[in-house]
Subunit: 488 residues, 2 copies
């Protein structure tokens, strides 16, 4: 059930602990637990950490305790990165101490079969006895960027973002930090669910559905264990926020790989497509696409319909976007007579006012970011814009030098100009119910313009195909939401 407020979620303390008993960190820097505790410290966690260590007085400069029973207080959360064979006794000790939430990173349970299965049964029996809910085992931890909590072994270098994620592979939490940073986006909260012995992907979805920092939910799925609960949770969330899933088990090869990864029993594509359709969830075709969709769905309004105008300075990237739109059910309407009239003063003789609108160049650069997209967005026959950007920082600086700006003022004036352009376009988006998706072969690392646009909350994707697919996701969400709304 979706909690009415996030604090009521049964897993709230797992993502928002005020204090953590940490098992498995030491002063040996090759140990995984040490690395995770290091991540927690370096990201600036504001709560209290209690390292539990049988011999050390301090761990990474923090007072350590021989055993959890030595603590004066009862921590909100136990974080366990210990050898498999002592995990059960540790959870037992935590239960006796009154701890009711845990994250168990240790592996060697259901996923290895045989004795591992018995061990996992023992673990859940202990949890049941004490009423403990835990993430894992065989997971990689949790990140809650808005709380400065990064309980994983990789440094969090993305922004405090709006993508809430629950993943049946920890890699798609931690190994996406740098990836998301390169798009200027980030996680709100990310859960690595591991073997789902206690907390599963449905619990995490429900939490993320109520999370105020989460605008869109990403799911990496190898197998859904509670089908009915999954569908019900999704249908309760979709009217408020979109969900995007990447499902890996649909092909024979993907299904087998999932089985040996987390012991997941996958189902064929048609079965899962049915589940996603019934749930109102958008299925992505790749990991990249999952995050592209999340980016667009979190930052842009859903598209009112499937008619799009493409605005470009370059014919080829315009044509490729048009082709990609065509292949994804997006229509390119002709411009209305009124739009053509208003556009006339801004289009040079080399330009084209077919759709794509290929301006080739604009005399006043700001027109490309404000007046022209403003005119196009207002066209009654369009539901959204795709806009191509090509200006690198170097090109803008060269242009300014050419216009006679003194060498020592070029950088500052380029900054001012770019910021002005980015804000003009972001304002258009803020005041329009129609989405604007930008695309460029440049990235925020090559181009101050791309960086400025992304930092002003514009969606800029790295290719025409990916932009067209993201626009498709915005049309799809509108329809899925309405379908669920009609079904009541």
């Amino acid at each position: 059930m979706i909690p009415s407020s996030i604090e009521e979620s049964v897993i709230y303390p797992i993502a928002n602990p005020r204090s953590i008993a940490f098992f498995g960190a030491s002063n040996n820097f090759t140990a995984m637990g040490t690395g995770i505790m290091g991540s927690i410290l370096s990201f600036g966690y504001k709560g209290t950490l209690y390292p539990i260590h049988p011999r050390e007085e301090t761990v990474q400069g923090i007072q350590a305790f021989k055993q959890v029973s030595d603590l004066d207080n009862t921590p909100d959360l136990a974080f366990i990165v210990l050898p498999t064979k002592i995990v059960c006794q540790t959870l037992e000790a935590c239960g006796q101490k009154g701890i009711r939430h845990a994250i168990i990173v240790s592996a060697g349970f259901n996923e290895v079969g045989g004795d591992g299965k018995a061990l996992q049964n023992k673990l859940t029996a202990i949890a049941d006895k004490y009423g403990i809910r835990f993430l894992g085992p065989n997971c990689i931890g949790v990140v809650n960027s808005h709380l400065n909590l990064n309980a994983t072994f990789l440094p969090y270098d993305a922004s405090k973002g709006f993508i809430g994620m629950a993943s049946q592979s920890g890699s798609f939490i931690t190994q996406m930090f740098s990836y998301l940073a390169r798009l200027g986006i980030g996680f709100s909260t990310g859960f690595s669910v591991g073997n789902e012995a206690s907390v599963d992907i449905v619990d995490c979805m429900e939490y993320l559905g109520a999370c105020p920092h989460t605008k869109v939910i990403a799911l990496y799925i190898e197998s859904i264990r509670r089908g009915r609960a999954f569908i019900e949770a999704a249908r309760a969330i979709i009217p408020h926020k979109p969900i995007v899933a990447f499902y890996v088990g649909g092909s024979e090869e993907g299904g087998k790989a999932g089985l040996s990864h987390t012991g997941a029993l996958a189902g064929p594509d048609p079965l899962y497509n049915g589940v996603f359709r019934q749930s109102g969830i958008i299925r992505a075709r790749s990991i990249e696409e999952m995050f592209d969709f999340c980016y667009a769905l979190g930052a842009s309004p859903p598209a009112p319909g499937n008619r799009v105008i493409i605005q470009t300075h370059s014919g080829g990237p315009g044509a490729v976007a048009a082709d990609a739109c065509g292949r994804n059910g997006i229509k390119l309407p002709s411009l209305s007579p009124d739009t053509l009239d208003k556009l006339k003063p801004f289009v040079p003789h080399t330009g084209s006012v077919a759709n794509p609108v290929d301006l080739t160049f604009t005399k006043n650069p700001l027109d490309f970011f404000q007046t022209i997209p403003g005119i196009l967005l207002a066209d009654e026959n369009t539901d959204g814009l795709l806009v191509y950007f090509l200006a690198s920082t170097g090109m803008i600086q060269v242009a300014l030098k050419g216009m006679g700006v003194p060498e020592d003022q070029v950088e500052e004036q380029a900054n001012t100009l770019i910021t002005q352009q980015a804000h003009a376009m972001a304002n258009l988006q803020k005041n329009s119910p129609k989405p604007i998706i930008g695309y460029s072969f440049l990235t925020r690392n090559d181009s101050m313009l791309i960086q400025a646009l992304q930092d002003a909350d514009m969606v800029i994707l790295p290719s025409p195909e990916r932009a067209a697919r993201a626009m498709w996701a915005l049309t799809e969400y509108k329809q899925l939401r309405e379908k669920i709304h009609r079904a009541g």
Copy 2:
């Protein structure tokens, strides 16, 4: 016809001019011609530049000439970036001077219809009179990185690469410089063919087929004008080097956009698929995929068959690669008993020797780059490897610190270690007829390891799906080449 040596190509002087008469550059830095001449100078062109300018004594510090007839010598090439209305008279003057090759960037010809068509006819009549072959009009120039010639308006920041390209959109030459640089690859020679009034995409293919720096050919196509010649040229090239095409006109929307971009008359997908199949050309689904395929085809041997082993440290990225292989006709065989025996000492109890081979971790990091992939490549049931990399520079440095390496030696030791790993793997590839394709969510900008691997000529792509698709292209090329060989 494919020239037997590149010097015999009819367009050789267009990509290899010893001297250039440049029309349209000045000391006004907002002019496009000025920008292009600036690119030529800053990339270090070794030939002679003769700026032709009616008033200036020098252009960008180089002695200028009032008219081309004033030159003592006859340049190999005329480069023309002038207002439309004076292009014909300029080409006439070049013809009179004895110049036999030209690049015409100026637009306003066939692509604008009406008078533009008449003007283009006039242009070709002048060229025919003097026996001039020219690239354009309405093109963006040429780049020949191995000659340090960048006659386009964007700076060339990619490597001196092996991708030869002919493009019906200049954007996919110039705007890909930074894009290719981010993958550590680059163009050998890139032609923007524009309206193809004289030199067309077939001429460029033939040149690239003979070019010793070009290992693979990329084509961006909105329309093929000489169908039979195109197929014949491709079939002559495929036995020696692969060709990858992105065709944009196959959807209704893409076809319309191409028409307004360069006046191209596109054909439906099935027609073009037939042409590509007959030609032995691999069709890519996106611009990114075209360059991914070129990267893999240029740097790796073609795959002997479609059976692949996936080597990983992380379950999720392994499972996703397995799924992507399954969706692209790539089989994941079980490891042979012999391989399992040899692998045993290197796999911890948390690992899996199913395929994907998920090592989870390796005690000696070098094993992951040398011994283990060596064992897997030697398996008689596999035709290639997909390998996942996750180590960022930061992680390696942390690990070294943990192992007690003094702070001031960490960076140097990390470099040494990474270089050793990259070279070990590159050596495996050099001595094997089976391809190794790497993938990672990190890029050469985030990770010294990715950079070192790419710089050692290993193929590392940014996602499991893209790596699996590239592996598919390697199996496809093998088959296409054999089919053409059998047909004689």
